[in-house]
């Protein structure tokens, strides 16, 4: 196996309940009410997480500019992807629109974040 001490180690024990330097904290809980209209479901979560979401999106844009030396790709995302959101299966189209609305982020960028798995396989 990959045995490159100290970058790899022998099997750990006693790490649970989590504590120490490899544990940054518990993940916080939220409720999403599926009886609500899709565009309203994520409002609470997004209003709490607006800042880190914006920071993450900004990094992706900075990275794109750095790699491709152009803003054209980002313009494409901001101008073309919104026209495709409506082609996504419900309720995801409306949920993504609600997230863009609540976060103030461009709709195309929120859609890109949600299809990143497929895109990233490049």
């Amino acid at each position: 196996a990959q045995d490159v001490p100290p970058y790899t180690e022998d099997c750990r024990s006693g790490t649970y309940p989590p504590s120490g330097p490899t544990y940054r904290g518990d993940v916080s809980w939220y409720t999403v009410n599926l009886d609500q209209p899709p565009s309203d479901r994520w409002r609470k979560i997004i209003s709490d997480k607006k800042q880190p979401l914006t920071a993450m999106m900004q990094h992706i844009k900075d990275l794109t500019k750095y790699i491709f030396h152009t803003e054209k790709l980002i313009d494409l995302v901001d101008t073309k992807l919104p026209g495709l959101v409506g082609k996504l299966p419900p309720p995801f189209d409306e949920e993504i629109k609600g997230i863009a609305d609540e976060s103030g982020l461009p709709l195309g960028e929120v859609m890109l974040f949600n299809i990143f798995y497929e895109i990233f396989t490049v």
Partner: protein, 253 residues
């Protein structure tokens, strides 16, 4: 990523995963961390999806991302997905989709639909193995009865393999990283063997949420890309999510 479904000697199923993401998307030299992995950690949330004030399913995910990568339908099933690399990859699926060929499902929307609507392990297994996808993937599925655990290896168009628990033959866990289980992993990214070594050393008699968390805390299963660890027990109706760090010295992936 590393996902595992294990059955203890009492027939109870446990499902756990490390979500590793952010490779090659920017390295922070000062802090020796991957930038995206660090930017994703504040976005990690556990979500309780309810209908008529009753829990439909619970998940660990990223705020702003409406698809599901990790979830549990209480009393019924647990589901995680790991990334699969293939030349016939998602970018082809996305191009086809943009050009109007829209038979394929977006991976994380399928997992969300399965968690929201499937009513049994078998139904979920059928949906995950037969639905045409836009991108290849590994689906790791746990049920609520002895022997109900499998890794579904998917290409975009078809199901390449379903690798199931087989308690009679001593196969009490199935563990998936990011390589087809019948092939050796990339030697420079072999998280599978260290993880399996720890599972085998733990033995079925001693497997528990605590000892599975131990395995997921062992480098390189825990690495610089690991954003969160989630452990799930469908019989105890328990989903616990933990944000992770991997201080130096630690493998970059």
């Amino acid at each position: 990523c590393t996902s595992v479904v294990a059955e203890d000697t009492s027939g109870k199923l446990l499902h756990a995963r490390n979500l590793d993401f952010g490779l090659f998307l920017g390295w922070d030299v000062k802090n020796s961390t991957w930038m995206i992995s660090e930017l994703l950690k504040p976005l990690v949330v556990n979500v309780n999806f309810q209908r008529n004030n009753k829990t439909v399913f619970v998940s660990t995910g990223f705020a702003g991302y409406v698809g599901m990568l990790t979830g549990m339908k209480p009393g019924i099933l647990t589901l995680t997905m790991n990334e699969r690399f293939s030349l016939d990859g998602g970018y082809i699926g996305v191009l086809e989709w943009i050009l109007g060929i829209r038979q394929g499902a977006w991976m994380s929307f399928l997992t969300r639909s399965v968690l929201e609507n499937a009513t049994s392990y078998e139904e979920a297994k059928t949906l995950l193995s037969k639905t045409v996808l836009l991108a290849p993937a590994y689906f790791i599925l746990g049920g609520n009865q002895s022997g109900e655990g499998c890794v579904i290896t998917r290409s975009r168009q078809s199901c390449l393999d379903i690798w199931e628990l087989d308690i009679q033959k001593g196969k009490w866990y199935v563990l998936e990283t990011n390589y087809d289980h019948w092939k050796p992993p990339l030697p420079i990214d072999n998280r599978r063997d260290p993880a399996m070594k720890c599972m085998n050393r733990t033995t079925q008699k001693n497997i528990s949420i605590a000892t599975i968390y131990d395995m997921l805390s062992t480098k390189p299963v825990l690495n610089k890309l690991t954003t969160y660890t989630t452990v799930m027990s469908v019989s105890e109706n328990k989903l616990e999510g933990y944000l992770r760090d991997c201080p130096d010295p630690c493998m970059p992936w």
